[in-house]
């Protein structure tokens, strides 16, 4: 039975534990954007036991590199990038208390296991619906790594960003479940 949740950041364990693969989530609050290069830098800081430019505990990271904001807009198109590229970096952030990742595409077994271990979820935004996703963004500012251009860490204020739960704290996988239902083996 698919349920609908409206969540506000920062997220607590209590927020993510009831979520199940397939549930719809609308998210309001702050999300931080980061892709490959930003993740690499964050992990280097973690390994060096130095401070990070953004909080991690209870937070949400959205894998997105938005297109530039035209005049009068807070952001350009802002759909998800493919998440597997961030798989090498995700477990350490989950260990630090990251509660949700937003992207699209399947995660590795290591990341799914880390979500179960640390009680976090993976949420999918619709890939390629960049204009639609951007409608939920009410503010955006670069907070770190401006030199990375579109790949900088941005703090986004979002209002009812429409998402679906792909991986929950039990290790369920919506991609696998959905495909099994419609696969035809000859």
């Amino acid at each position: 039975m698919v349920k609908e949740f409206h969540l506000t950041t920062p997220l607590s364990e209590g927020d993510v534990v009831p979520l199940r693969a397939g549930d719809r989530v609308t998210l309001t609050g702050i999300v931080y954007t980061a892709r490959d290069a930003a993740h690499r830098r964050l992990i280097e800081l973690i390994d060096a036991k130095e401070d990070l430019p953004i909080p991690i505990e209870g937070q949400v990271i959205y894998y997105v590199g938005p297109s530039p904001a035209p005049p009068g807009r807070v952001i350009g198109a802002a759909g998800p990038t493919t998440s597997y590229r961030m798989d090498p970096f995700a477990p350490k952030l989950l260990e630090m208390g990251l509660k949700a990742m937003i992207g699209k595409g399947k995660r590795s077994k290591e990341v799914v296991d880390a979500m179960v271990r640390h009680k976090a979820v993976y949420l999918a935004a619709i890939g390629g619906a960049g204009a639609l996703m951007a409608k939920a963004v009410t503010a955006a500012r670069v907070v770190a790594y401006e030199d990375l251009g579109p790949e900088a860490i941005r703090e986004l204020s979002v209002e009812r960003l429409p998402l679906v739960v792909v991986n929950d704290i039990l290790g369920n996988d919506l991609y696998e479940e959905g495909r099994k239902q419609y696969r035809i083996t000859v």
């Binding site: 590199g65 530039p68 759909g79 990038t81 595409g105 999918a124 890939g127 204009a131 419609y182 000859v186």
Partner: protein
Amino acid sequence: MRTIPAQAVVEAVKVASIQANIELGDDVINALKGAVEVEASEVGRDILKKLIENAAIAREERIPICQDTGVAVLFVELGQGATVSGDLYQALEEGIRQGYKEGFLRKSVCDPLTRKNTGDNTPIIVHLDLVPGDRLRIWVVPKGGGSENMSRLFMLTPAAGWDGIKEKVVQTVSDAGPNPCPPTIIGVGIGGNFEQSAILAKKSLLRPLGTPNPDARLIRMEAELLTAVNQTGVGPQGLGGRVTSLAVHILMMPCHIASLPLAVNIQCHASRHVEVVL
């Protein structure tokens, strides 16, 4: 000899690059609408409708369909009776540079090792052919990274045959799963050689959706591959469904007697291509 001013090329490419990223072609929108009718999954139908809605928002509000406005791939046919006053490559590149700046498109090109962004979405990728006539025909085809990353090239043994080709195409789509943003369009290049098969695969994507392959032999092959990839059940956004791909397009040419090159270039649903003729 007909002379085409370089500035005309710059302007045409600039306009085309912005248009391609903001206005999803009617053929794609119609294919998405058709998919809604046949998609058995309710979640799948909802996603398809949202993609159609997204295209309308992008067009009305003049923002990109997808934030990944891609690497600029240009197919260029220069008539042998035409010449460009100036450097054709530089004009094409300047057109992209200007389009990506003025159109607020994302700069998504970087050094492969340092990963430092080049800042202006150049260099571009140009496939240039000399053809009869005196026209300059340019297809601007922004290609995003997600679907490109799921594309594959196989140097099959001749013994693999059609069955082997079918197996590899299905395997590529299956392995990719949700990653290339289904529903996808699968471009297949058969024959040629290592690099030519890949060019054939990407070129096959230029044909408007819903139009038949001009080579009758390939029509049946395309239909067979489409049925096979849609049996994977990957569905819209990989969440399960009957419509994993909207179409399979094939281009084929003769190859070495010891080879069977096969390239599978996956195109996401944001299939963007604009043609200009000068």
